[in-house]
């Protein structure tokens, strides 16, 4: 089932002082989640992504705008009637119930024609448990499970009633690094097997990019960009998106375009024909640097970090807005760590220009 958000806005009355305006957590949001896809909702903390999730779940009511599940307008429908599954950040497993009782809980709420027989419920519970591979833990209490196991139970509980939409709120943030990797593949697998439209909230860009069909980036309640991970990475719509995606982060320089050439400091580094003369921010991905003795960009050598397959050169340039520039070069290259300067050529497709005033992307 596809999920459509139309001009969705959520304002919270400002707490405390009365004269302050409302806090706008979600601002005029419009996008569509295609049927059966996994969408990663991504943004820095406080950007409104959890509010967004609560709006979709129906725990919060939008100030204006519409939410559609398929063709049905569910805007006025509270959470209990939307038929969604929600996995909470800290799982919200009922601590006094066993795993089996936790998974069974949503089914026991069904009334009228939806009511299930005991056997049918039991079968569904077992199926859900199998799907997340926790059959052997059924009679334990949540307190006796590891974080990863609790996570699976939470997913099973969300899935057991066959929700139209599955919502996951920072589902991996309470797991350690190794489990996180494993669990996110697991989530991907379960989502593919069930084909349930899924929204996944996270502040971790790597997490979002690796498992989502699409990512949605938001900042201060405003949609910044949406698209497939690689697309968004390669073609960020603005400076924020460029900075938010990628590890190590993109290097930002202050530069200007003059007569079809891009200047960083005094160095003309690239041909940018078609771009009018203007002040720009230049974003260069770490992998966009090529070591070259006669390279056009000259930086003061800071140091070399060996990372195995690659090496990372740390250097300085007056035009750089970060303290140091980080570039990633194949370890085959020879670098003289003791040299005073290092020269780079740039890969044109890894260099991104942004208008200094609007911070919007300028293509060339």
């Amino acid at each position: 089932m596809k999920v459509v958000l139309q001009n969705l806005t959520k304002k919270f009355p400002a707490r405390g002082k009365k004269n302050h305006g409302d806090v706008i957590a979600v601002n005029n949001f419009t996008f569509e989640i295609p049927d059966g896809k996994l969408v990663g909702l991504l943004g820095p903390s406080g950007c409104g992504k959890s509010t967004m999730l609560n709006l979709i779940s129906g725990l919060l009511k939008p100030t204006s705008g519409k939410i559609l599940f398929g063709d049905d307008d569910v805007t006025e429908l509270p959470a209990e009637h939307r038929g969604i599954g929600l996995v909470f950040q800290n799982y919200a497993l009922y601590p006094h119930l066993t795993v089996r009782q936790n998974i069974l809980f949503p089914l026991q709420n069904l009334k009228g024609k939806d009511k299930l027989s005991k056997e049918a419920m039991e079968k569904k519970v077992v199926d859900a448990a199998k799907l997340v591979q926790i059959e052997e833990l059924m009679d334990r209490k949540p307190g006796e499970l590891s974080g990863g196991q609790q996570q699976r139970v939470a997913i099973a509980r969300a899935l057991v009633k066959m929700p139209k939409v599955l919502l996951l709120d920072e589902p991996l943030s309470n797991l350690d690094a190794r489990l996180r990797l494993q669990t996110r593949e697991e989530i991907r697998r379960i989502q593919k097997e069930t084909g349930i439209t899924t929204v996944f909230v996270t502040h971790d860009q790597e997490e979002a990019m690796s498992i989502s069909d699409q990512i949605v980036l938001m900042k201060d309640g405003v949609l910044q960009q949406l698209g497939r991970s690689q697309e968004v990475y390669d073609n960020p719509a603005n400076l924020f998106v460029a900075k938010f995606l990628g590890t190590p982060p993109i290097n930002i320089f202050s530069g200007n375009v003059s007569d079809g050439k891009l200047y960083i400091g005094k160095d003309a580094v690239l041909n940018t024909s078609g771009v009018p003369n203007m002040e720009v921010y230049v974003g260069i991905r770490p992998e966009g640097f090529l070591l070259s003795e006669n390279g056009s960009l000259c930086c003061a050598m800071g140091g070399v970090e060996v990372m195995g397959r690659d090496i990372s050169i740390v250097s300085m340039n007056e035009a750089s807005l970060n303290f140091s520039i980080r570039s990633i070069i194949s370890s085959d290259s020879k670098v003289d760590e003791n040299a005073a300067f290092v020269h780079f050529d740039l890969k044109p497709n890894k260099v991104l220009l942004f208008d200094k005033k609007t911070e919007k992307r300028i293509t060339f």
Partner: protein
């Protein structure tokens, strides 16, 4: 997440408020009634076969009577003395003991502490009998020492304070030791100030307990000069004011109740927090 409050819940909310208001009235009404009765004149009170809910001619005469025809001032003063001395000595005793348990190292500490803890389960009723005999034998009936001595230690408060002391980082103690601070000085200069909130809570709880204590004072005093307010009010009820002067009786009740109510309204947060941490009545 108070959104989506659906309309059919409105009746429920009205019922909720109605029930809460009803209980508020049940709680407040006795207070209103005692205030009201205390300002009705003796003759008008006794002429009301059906009690009136208000009075048009309030009088303070009952308060004057309460202080003159029975020694209400004496009761109040006694209670004040009893409360202040008991609380003060108790604070010293429990602070020293809690410090020893929390901070000092000595042989037998654990076993002594376990014995202390097990004493928490002993109901007062069980020990009051012997204490009564003890105090009588010591010739301390009708005296402040007799009233005060048995209630100046509280295992529970030692426990509460010890828990609090233990939260103070060890490093502070070692730092003070390196600076040559004595244990006692450390206790007074560092631990007591840091634990002030808990000490205040304990003080308030103890003051409430002292102000309302009835059983022990009743056993140990039969001389009116040593009555506390609870015994005083019982005495007034049985003998005072020629028995039927209820307005004057209520004036006395108001005078006795007011100090604690003021204390409560001033320290509302502290008291409620303190009680929820560790107090049942009595």
């Amino acid at each position: 997440m108070e959104d989506y409050k659906k309309t059919p819940k409105k009746p429920l909310r009205i019922i909720t408020y109605a029930l809460l208001a009803l209980w508020a009235i049940v709680v407040l009404f006795p207070f209103y009634w005692m205030l009201l009765t205390s300002v009705k004149s003796y003759s008008s009170y006794n002429s009301e076969y059906i009690p009136k809910f208000f009075t048009l001619s309030p009088t303070l005469q009952n308060y004057a009577d309460a202080f003159t025809s029975v020694p209400l001032g004496r009761y109040l003063l006694n209670t004040l003395i009893f409360t202040v001395i008991t609380t003060a000595i108790m604070l010293i005793v429990i602070t020293l003991a809690a410090f020893a348990f929390a901070r000092l190292e000595f042989k037998g500490k654990n076993i002594v502490f376990v014995i202390f803890l097990s004493l928490m389960m002993i109901p007062n009723e069980l020990v009051v009998i012997t204490n009564f005999v003890t105090i009588t034998n010591w010739d301390m009936r009708n005296s402040f020492p007799g009233l005060i001595l048995p209630s100046i230690t509280s295992v529970f408060y030692i426990y509460l304070l010890k828990e609090n002391f233990e939260q103070i980082p060890d490093n502070l103690y070692y730092a003070a030791k390196v600076d040559g601070t004595s244990d006692l000085k450390y206790l007074l200069r560092v631990m007591v100030p840091i634990s002030k909130p808990t000490l205040v809570t304990i003080t308030i709880l103890k003051v409430i307990e002292c102000w309302n204590s009835y059983v022990w004072p009743r056993l140990i005093t039969d001389d009116e000069n040593y009555f506390l307010v609870s015994n005083g009010i019982q005495e007034i009820r049985e003998k005072g004011f020629g028995r039927e002067n209820i307005p004057a009786m209520m004036a006395a009740v108001v005078v006795i109740s007011v100090p604690l109510i003021i204390l409560f309204l001033v320290f509302r947060k502290k008291i409620m927090e303190g009680v929820s941490r560790g107090g049942t009545k009595g």
